[in-house]
Symmetry: C2
Subunit: 192 residues, 2 copies
């Protein structure tokens, strides 16, 4: 376990994951080619297959990492505010912006990615459901999840103005107060 080795499998894997996260998010699964990912990572293409098996498995690895990062966060009332803060934080480098949107873009025919994104959805949904006593709590949670996804797509894929340039606090305030109509115990304070 020495550091700064000239040949370091872990560093190679990390570089690939980082590059893959960036390109998948930016272009979607289909248009991010393995050649471009390897080039961006500064790594030989065949190593991608040695360490991850296939393009799809690499995608799953990226998704799993970002899922873990997003889910392990704070009490239910704060989850939405946290997610918004993370999404709207412009200081994030591109490689850590969520590949959720890439997962959404690459449609059904990929069962494992389906499983992962449904799992992530479930974790979110569970948190949101706990914020209301309404009988249709699960539907209300779906509606709020849809909003978060729509915001991310409109920002990252379309680059819609004025949304991309808007004050994060203001965006969060609007979304939280409107969502509170559906989830009465939601904490509407934009502060993370």
């Amino acid at each position: 376990m020495t550091e700064a080795r000239r040949r370091d499998a872990n560093a190679t894997k990390a570089a690939l994951l980082r590059a893959a996260g960036e390109l998948f998010t930016e272009r979607g699964f289909d248009r991010a080619t393995v050649r471009d990912i390897a080039d961006l990572a500064g790594v030989n293409q065949s190593l991608l297959f040695r360490y991850f098996g296939s393009k799809e498995e690499l995608f799953h690895a990226v998704l799993a990492i970002q899922t873990r990062e997003l889910v392990a966060e704070s009490p239910a009332e704060k989850v939405l505010a946290r997610t918004l803060a993370r999404m709207l934080d412009e200081k994030r480098d591109p490689s850590s912006q969520s590949s959720w949107y890439a997962a959404l873009r690459s449609s059904g025919h990929d069962s494992a990615a389906d499983a992962i994104r449904k799992q992530l959805g479930e974790d979110y949904i569970r948190a949101l459901i706990s914020l209301t006593d309404a009988e249709d709590a699960d539907l209300r949670a779906d509606l709020v999840l849809a909003w978060v996804l729509g915001l991310g797509m409109l920002r990252s894929v379309v680059g819609k103005k004025p949304l991309v340039d808007a004050d994060p606090q203001r965006v969060a305030k609007h979304v939280l107060s409107a969502a509170a109509t559906l989830l009465e115990r939601l904490d509407t304070d934009p502060a993370s």
Copy 2:
């Protein structure tokens, strides 16, 4: 202009547009192949190129048609309710479900599709902006547009339950009342 001709260019074009709309919406631009579109339309593949020039131009034609259908609708206060009703109406056949989501999925590198979807966005945004006197009306409109897109994606791409099976009236009621937090003149009656 006789009818039911054995050779009819207009019928061929219409069949291609219909099939393309269905497959683009269902699979996204990249995964809908020209062979599958031609097969679904029951038409020889090369006719697609004779009548539309390229896959991209066919995509633009589909987008233009659906844009026209969606935009020319009723007063501003009713636009959101109408859109929701249309999106949630399960009786629609697949070919008329919007390819907006396909446009969203196929990222930036397509300038004409960009232009069209931004144009559609603009028409929508204009209608929504007129529903509030707030100084950040344009931002609020973006937020509502994002919600509509997110709902469509979550329904058509992920097939998320309980959202797909939910009572359209109830979904519309929730969304409209929450959106009314941002757009005070919005008509919150789900009826179309």
